[in-house]
Structures are given as structure tokens and as C-alpha cells.
């Protein structure tokens, strides 16, 4: 193989694939993507609930989410030539108690202050928008421009189009270390001993990014966390909205295919001590807890059959939002990691802006609140 490139991207997830696609589209000829596992989109990119959500976001991330919804998602199926199943029919975040509603109201106010169209709705309006919800739901926040998409086809769509544009993809390609050349991060040392070199290296490898950045003296305080989803068999079409709840009991939606995808946890999952490379199963209590949570909000689904569950990993940072951009102390290196389990919805915009960052262009939105240096400032 050719050992040099203009850009090396570490991580074949949606951020890596989208960045590669936009770079190639911008005319960069020589791009390598390295994926440690056998499959593109092996990690959180494929293992998420498919939310394309702005409401409830941290204000530092919200501009990216709004940018993604306004500029990328509506035309993405056409752009990629795959059906991303993007559905913009709103996100209902439900509450069953007054305490829930107070919590939702705070989130709503924060987002409205940032210019997002999101509002509180009462019981009557909740049931007018979605008649399948439980009578116990007394109110909700509603963001009409939120929605959902299919993470599987979207991730692979970016991959296939990038491949078509000549991006070189390697799977089973695990990166062990980064190395500097004359003060620039330029080299990538692979598990099999091979050394690759590029002008710019984008690190978008989920939680694995941490160990890799450690090799050039960077550290982002983060941990990986297990999250679980279940999938039902195909059901008649019921509702198009993305659901969530104040209590964070569960979230999910009905896919275009007809199956429902719901995410929920029982509690012990985040403390499970598993080698995520080897096994990735949920806790034995997750299935039951998820079912009870879902039935509590969408009672009609009690007879829906669950055909599968899955587990994914979230790369969670200490302040709950991702790290984007060029750390000052490591020229040549760009970070895009720590998406905290909600990176799918923003991925098209993030990929686009990572390409901009690499090309030295001004990014669509200001990414400075998400810069690497913030962690030192937090501690200092």
C-alpha cells in the first residue's frame, strides 16, 4: 500500500466517513481512512437511536445541531444517493409530573434563547400531535424541526460515496500511536508495525481516541459508557415523531421500515466492566426495564414483539460535549471525538466542518466553545 496521504482519518465511523466525503468533494485527492474493526460504522455510528435533535442540547453544541438540521439533513438522501430516512416531524419530550415539566421548561427556555423553535405543550396538544401516548403524559416540550434518521444507511452512505471519490479505506487497521516529525504530528504507527504519514491527521475514533491522543501528550477527561437499544418487529405505521422523556426513561421512534427502535437502560449498565472489543451485551435487567418504560408511555405497543437488542458505547467527556478542532500544542492533528452518545444528529455538519478545519477555511459555525483547551481552563 501507499504509505502517505494528504489526510489520514483515524476512525471509520460516521464522522470519519463524512469528513472524508466532504474533503474528497472539496478536491482533496489523497485521503486514507483507518478503521480498527472489520466493519465501517462498527461503533456508536451504527449503534444509536437515530435521533436528529436540537432541543435539549447543551448550548455549546446547539448551533451545530441547528446547522445540521437546516443545511445538511434535508438534502442528505439526494446528496448521498441512499435513503437516510430523514424524518423532520418533531421531537416530543414528555413529562408525567410537575417536576418533569419544570425540568423540560428550563431546557426549553435555554434553547429558545439560542433561537430554536421549541415550546411547551399541554396534555391536549400532546395527544393531538400523537394520540398513541399514555394518558399519564401531562405535558411535553415540542420541537417541530427535530426528527430522526437511519444511522445505518447514513453512515454507510457517506462511506460508499467517499469510496467512490477515491478515498482509500482500510479496515482491520488499528492505530497504536501518533508520532511527531519536526514538531508536527505527521505519523501514524499501526498495530502491524506499518507507519503511515500525512500532512493532517483527523482523530475521530470514539473512546479509542483517548489512548491514541495520549501518545502525543494530549488528554481529554472521558470514559466509555454502555448504552442499549431494542428493536421490534415491523408494526403498522403509528407516528412519525421522535420521542423522549424528562425522566430519561427511554427514547425512540418508529423507523420507515415499521420497526420501533427504543433506547433505555435499567441502571447498572454504565458501571458494567466489559472489554468492549470482545463482548457488547446489555445487562440482564435492561430488556425488562426498557419494556416497562416504553409501555408506560406508548401502551399500545405492549403486544409488539422485540426481535433484537443491541449495545453501543458512548464516549463521554467530563463536561458532556464533544471536542472539535486543532489543539494548539499538536499542529497537524485535528480532534473530533467525545460525542457523549448524541453525535449522530450533528455528524453531517461536524464532518463538513472538520473538512473545513483541515482545509483552513472558516467553519460554518464557531467551534471554539468545543476546543480542546477548555479542559485545562476547567481545571485551572
Amino acid at each position: 500500500m501507499k504509505k502517505t496521504a494528504d489526510v489520514i482519518i483515524i476512525g471509520g465511523g460516521i464522522v470519519g466517513c463524512a469528513s472524508a466525503y466532504y474533503l474528497a468533494k472539496a478536491g482533496v485527492k489523497d485521503i486514507i481512512v483507518l478503521e480498527a474493526s472489520r466493519s465501517i460504522g462498527h461503533g456508536g455510528s451504527s449503534r444509536n437511536g437515530g435521533g436528529v435533535r436540537q432541543s435539549g442540547r447543551d448550548v455549546r453544541e446547539l448551533p451545530i445541531a441547528m446547522c445540521a438540521v437546516q443545511k445538511f439533513w434535508p438534502s442528505l438522501s439526494d446528496e448521498l444517493g441512499v435513503d437516510t430516512e430523514y424524518t423532520r416531524q418533531g421531537n416530543i419530550r414528555m413529562g408525567k409530573t410537575e417536576a418533569h415539566l419544570r425540568k423540560l421548561d428550563t431546557l426549553t427556555t435555554n434553547c429558545r434563547n439560542m433561537g430554536l423553535d421549541v415550546r411547551m405543550i399541554d396534555r391536549k396538544e400532546v395527544h393531538a400531535i400523537n394520540p398513541y401516548l399514555s394518558d399519564q403524559v401531562i405535558g411535553a416540550s415540542f420541537c417541530p424541526t427535530d426528527g430522526h434518521a437511519n444511522p445505518l444507511t447514513t453512515t454507510l452512505g457517506y462511506y460508499i460515496r467517499a469510496l467512490e471519490k477515491g478515498v482509500r479505506f482500510y479496515t482491520n487497521a488499528r492505530v497504536m500511536a501518533l508520532e511527531k516529525v519536526r514538531g508536527q504530528v505527521r505519523k501514524v504507527r499501526m498495530e502491524d508495525g506499518a507507519v503511515l504519514e500525512a500532512d493532517t491527521i483527523l482523530l475521530a475514533a470514539g473512546y479509542a481516541s483517548r489512548k491514541i491522543m495520549n501518545t502525543v501528550g494530549l488528554e481529554v477527561p472521558m470514559h466509555d459508557e454502555i448504552d442499549c437499544c431494542l428493536v421490534t418487529e415491523m408494526e403498522p405505521k403509528m407516528f412519525p415523531q421522535m420521542l423522549g422523556c424528562a425522566d430519561a426513561d427511554f427514547y425512540g421512534h418508529q423507523t420507515r421500515h415499521g420497526s420501533f427502535v427504543f433506547g433505555a437502560v435499567a441502571g447498572p449498565e454504565m458501571l458494567m466492566d466489559e472489554d468492549t472489543d470482545k463482548v457488547n451485551f446489555a445487562h440482564a435487567a435492561t430488556l425488562g426495564a426498557s419494556c416497562r418504560a416504553i409501555e408506560g408511555y406508548v401502551p399500545l405497543l405492549k403486544n409488539a414483539k422485540i426481535v433484537r437488542s443491541w449495545t453501543g458505547w458512548c464516549d463521554c467527556t467530563s463536561d458532556g460535549v464533544c471536542v472539535l478542532g486543532r489543539p494548539e500544542e499538536t499542529p497537524g492533528l485535528v480532534l473530533a471525538c467525545g460525542f457523549n452518545g448524541h453525535g449522530f444528529g450533528t455528524a453531517p455538519a461536524v464532518g463538513y466542518m472538520m473538512a473545513q478545519t483541515i482545509l483552513g477555511e472558516q467553519t460554518l459555525v464557531d467551534l471554539s466553545p468545543l476546543r480542546y483547551e477548555r479542559f485545562q481552563e476547567m481545571i485551572g
Binding site: E274, K278, V279, F281, H283, A284, A285, L287, G288
Partner: protein, 529 residues
């Protein structure tokens, strides 16, 4: 959430699971078996034919009776068997989720054995999703468990033992089997199983496969065609059959989901995609075992021994048996399993083209390609001998691990010797008393009693008969050849049934002299062929 603690949980009450439960319970382990079916026994209760092997393998006993015996033994040893209990998940720390009725229960155990068996493979041909295309195992379940006839006119795809045995059972249930088809150039299952189907007149089409299942709402017909060495259809070789059912018997896949979801290391082998485990079924996770088809596709007889080995290993793992006891029992079971894994169909011979028997006799090509031995070919095997007075003819021409005929005969007319896979010899100058025990004891229905009466110009052939209604004495019909063709007139002279024959009737037909070496089945005159 409540988690109930058990000592040893077995998933699957089939031959492997029950055997393991019995063996472990024998050492004092407290055992709970879960099975998703309403009845225990797994595949055993679908097996109405007699099993192969030796006495220790419960040879010549019908499968469902072995199941009954296992259940009785399990009950006697205090094994708890929970039915209608579907294990839906296997988790860390040996925890399982079991759906029972409309609830899910959580259990943990110190050891868990996965004995979930296998599911049927499918092949894709045009029309394969039409109602009427079913697995051969499914057909067997319909017939033998639920007493439902799967169809009227049936084509069987697959000539392994499952395809052969089920074809025969379909005919027993009153279905017409129009053809037995296999893409391979040679029959995959035992020659004796093939022969009992062939002599009923079922044609075999080797190097053929299904081109299309016809019909819009359900199967109305099927077209098969010959294929070349690259599995491409040869134009002009198409043959059409009017059928309402197509049975598919193209192998089994281990149902390893529970093992895989727990992170057990797997291996891609000729026996399927199975857990990497040692001879006792111990997997890469301590305390998790696998036995039976889920650990590699084999016969039920092997599954039972594997189960016993796992049960013994679990007893030792849980401190109920000493290492010495374990080693001793393991050796005994290994020898027993080793005996079953000998011969032409041994796992080590899978995919090999054998030319000769262990005795150095050239195998019958016709048997391998058409399902029956040539009238002249049979004469080169030791089971054949020409004699006027009554004597057994043993049409057993492949080295398979089976020997009940040897002990069935009290007069030493049949000899196999110590090697269970040797071909049976019809012993010269021995005195056959026409008791028929050998005929009924042969799981392959390959033994016939033959005599001649030169003065009368006739001869008699006694055949094993497992169809209802039984022929009546004095009834006139036809003698059928090994390929199921009418070759002579025949008169039924005797019909013997006996508890000792265990469901196999012995029908003695009188045929013209010269046909005693060729007539191998009987059909009543007014019955359509």
C-alpha cells in the same frame, strides 16, 4: 428484580441435554432443564425409526422410545424439567432469562449447558418462499408429533440421512414421494436408508437440483434439472413433477445464538459454526458448556454420549466427582463415542470419495447414485449367500457403526465380529430357524430371509414391512425389485407381527424361482405404483 439461583442449568431437553442432566444428577448435582417446547425429548420424539449403533447406543430401539427412557431416567434422578420455557438470553455471571408463559424469569447457575440443537438450512430457488416449501424436519414434526399430513405429492431435496428417513416416513404417512433430488453426485446418507426408499419405487436424481417451484399462491409443481461440476444447470435436462409440497433437507445449522451472545469463542468447522470447546463441551467461558448438535452436527446417538460427557465434566467442575472418577467415566464414554464416529460416514470422512469397504470390496456405484444395489453387485458382499434352505441375506454394504443383527441371531448365522463397522457376514453352513429376529432388528431394513423350493418352482422372501394396512395372507400382488419395479407376481404367504419385532412386520411372499434374489418389496395388485 428477583434472580433465582440454581446449581446446574441445562438449556434444551433433547438427547444431549437430558443425557447431561442424568449424568450430572447421578453424581449428586441438582439440575434444572429448560425447554421451549411443550414436550421434552427434542428431535427424539420425531424419530419413529430404529436407531443404529450397538446395544450401549440403544441400537434397534426407536428414537421416541429412547426419549421416553431418557425422561424416565431423568425423573428418577430428580432432574427438574421445565417445559414451555424459552431461554431468551444468556448473560455474564451465568445468568439466563427464561420466558415462561407471559413472564420472564431470571436464573443464575454455577454451570450452564447449552444443548439447543440445530435448525434446518434452506436453499434459494425460484419459488422457494411459496407455501408448500418446507423443511424436512418440519414435515417430520407435522407427521410424527402432530399427526398432520404435510402434503400429498412430495418432492424431497437432499439425500442425507434426514432426507432419506423423512422420505420413507412420508410414505408411511400415506404421502407419495415423487422423487428424491440432490445436487451432489452421490447419495449423502446411509445406503440402507436409500435402499428402503428406492425399493418403494422412488426415483433418485443425483447431480440435480430444483430450478423452480411453480405456483402463485402455493406449490403446484416443481422443475428440476441436472447440474454440471460448477453447479450450473445443463439446458435441456429439465424434468417437471406435479407436486403440492417440496421438502428441503440440505443440512442443519447449530443454534448457537445463546453462546454467541455471551461472548463464547467460536470456530468455523466442517460441523458448522460452533463454539470452540474441548471433548467435554467446555467452552472458552469457565462453567459454560455445549453439547449435541449445537456443538457440531452429528447423530442423536452421538449427542447422547456428548451430553453424558458434559454432565460428567460439570459434576467434576462443581466438585461432585473426583478427577479420577471423571477421567474413568470420560474414557468409557470416549470409547463409546469413538465407536460411533467410525466407518464411512465418520466426521473425518466427510467430503471424501471412498472407493472400497474396509474389507477391500468395491462399493456399489449404483447404490451411491441410484439408491439401490445392482442385482449382480450384491453378490460380492459377505452378507449374500446362495442357498436353497432358508437363510438371511444381509444387504448391508457400507461400513457403518451398527451391530444388532449379530446378537439378534441366536443361531450364529450372522457375524460382524468385534469391529462394529465391519460388514455383516451371512455365515456359511449355519442353521437358520426362520425366527425373523434379524429382519426386525435391522435398523436399515436391509435383512431378508430367502429360501427356494425347486420342486414347486417357487421361492420365498421375507421382507421387513412398516406400512399399514398390512397385507393379508393369500393376497396377490407383485414383487418389486430393489429399484421398485414390478418384476414378478407374488403371493403373501405369511404376515408376522410380534412385540419382539417392535412394530416391524415380517411379510413373506412367494415368488417364482429365480426371483428370490431380486424381489425385495411387495405391493398389492390393485395399488398404484
Amino acid at each position: 428484580m428477583k434472580i433465582e439461583r440454581k446449581e446446574f442449568i441445562v438449556v434444551g431437553a433433547g438427547p444431549a441435554g437430558l443425557s447431561a442432566a442424568i449424568e450430572a444428577a447421578r453424581s449428586g448435582v441438582s439440575v434444572t432443564v429448560f425447554d421451549e417446547n411443550a414436550r421434552p425429548g427434542g428431535q427424539l420424539f420425531k424419530q419413529i425409526h430404529k436407531f443404529f449403533g450397538s446395544k450401549e447406543h440403544m441400537a434397534k430401539i426407536r428414537g421416541f422410545r429412547i426419549g421416553e427412557e431418557l425422561l424416565r431416567e431423568a425423573e428418577e434422578k430428580g432432574v427438574e424439567v421445565v417445559l414451555n420455557a424459552t431461554v431468551i438470553g444468556l448473560y455474564r455471571e451465568k445468568e439466563i432469562q427464561v420466558q415462561i408463559g407471559t413472564e420472564v424469569h431470571h436464573y443464575k447457575a454455577d454451570a450452564i449447558l447449552i444443548a439447543t440443537g440445530a435448525s434446518e438450512n434452506m436453499v434459494n430457488f425460484r419459488g422457494w418462499t411459496l407455501p408448500g416449501v418446507i423443511g424436512a424436519g418440519a414435515a417430520q414434526t407435522m407427521m410424527n408429533l402432530y399427526h398432520v399430513k404435510p402434503g400429498n405429492r412430495i418432492l424431497m431435496l437432499g439425500s442425507g440421512n434426514v432426507g432419506l428417513v423423512v422420505s420413507y416416513q412420508l410414505m408411511q404417512a400415506g404421502c407419495e414421494v415423487v422423487a428424491l433430488v440432490d445436487a451432489a453426485p452421490r447419495i449423502g446418507g446411509y445406503g440402507v436408508h436409500a435402499s428402503k426408499v428406492a425399493r418403494c419405487g422412488v426415483p433418485f436424481y443425483l447431480s440435480h437440483t430444483i430450478k423452480e417451484a411453480e405456483g402463485t399462491d402455493c406449490v403446484r409443481g416443481v422443475t428440476i434439472a441436472q447440474i454440471d461440476a460448477k453447479y450450473q444447470f445443463i439446458p435441456g435436462t429439465e424434468k417437471h413433477f406435479d407436486v403440492d409440497t417440496i421438502c428441503v433437507a440440505v443440512g442443519l445449522s447449530p443454534m448457537t445464538q445463546l453462546l454467541k451472545m455471551d461472548g463464547v469463542e467460536m470456530a468455523d468447522t466442517r460441523g458448522g459454526y460452533i463454539p470452540a470447546c474441548d471433548e467435554t463441551g467446555a467452552t472458552s467461558i469457565p462453567g459454560i458448556f455445549a453439547a449435541g448438535d449445537v456443538a457440531g452436527i452429528e447423530e442423536a446417538s452421538s449427542a447422547m454420549i456428548e451430553g453424558r460427557m458434559s454432565g460428567e465434566a460439570v459434576a467434576a467442575y462443581l466438585g461432585y466427582a473426583s478427577a479420577d472418577e471423571k477421567a474413568l467415566r470420560e474414557k468409557e464414554l470416549e470409547e463409546s463415542l469413538g465407536a460411533l464416529r467410525q466407518g464411512m460416514f465418520a466426521p473425518k470422512n466427510r467430503g471424501k470419495k471412498l472407493e472400497k469397504t474396509d474389507e477391500g470390496i468395491e462399493l456399489s456405484e449404483m447404490l451411491l447414485e441410484k439408491g439401490y444395489i445392482g442385482d449382480d453387485e450384491i453378490k460380492r458382499f459377505p452378507g449374500y449367500r446362495a442357498e436353497i434352505k432358508v437363510h438371511p441375506v444381509l444387504e448391508c454394504t457400507q461400513n457403518i457403526p451398527c451391530n444388532p443383527c449379530q446378537t439378534a441371531c441366536r443361531k450364529d448365522c450372522i457375524s460382524i465380529g468385534d469391529n462394529i463397522t465391519s460388514l455383516p457376514i451371512s455365515v456359511k453352513d449355519s442353521t437358520c430357524i426362520d425366527c425373523g429376529m434379524c429382519v426386525a432388528s435391522c435398523s436399515g431394513q436391509a435383512i431378508f430371509l430367502v429360501s427356494e423350493n425347486p420342486e414347486k418352482g417357487t421361492g420365498e422372501v421375507t421382507i421387513p414391512y412398516e406400512f399399514l394396512p398390512l397385507p393379508e395372507v393369500g393376497e396377490k400382488g407383485y414383487g418389486l425389485s430393489r429399484s421398485g419395479q414390478r418384476i414378478c407376481d407374488a403371493t403373501v404367504r405369511r404376515v408376522r407381527t410380534s412385540k419382539a419385532y417392535d412394530g416391524t412386520a415380517l411379510v413373506t411372499i412367494e415368488v417364482p424361482i429365480g426371483y428370490t434374489d431380486r424381489a425385495r418389496f411387495y405391493r398389492k395388485a390393485d395399488e398404484a405404483q
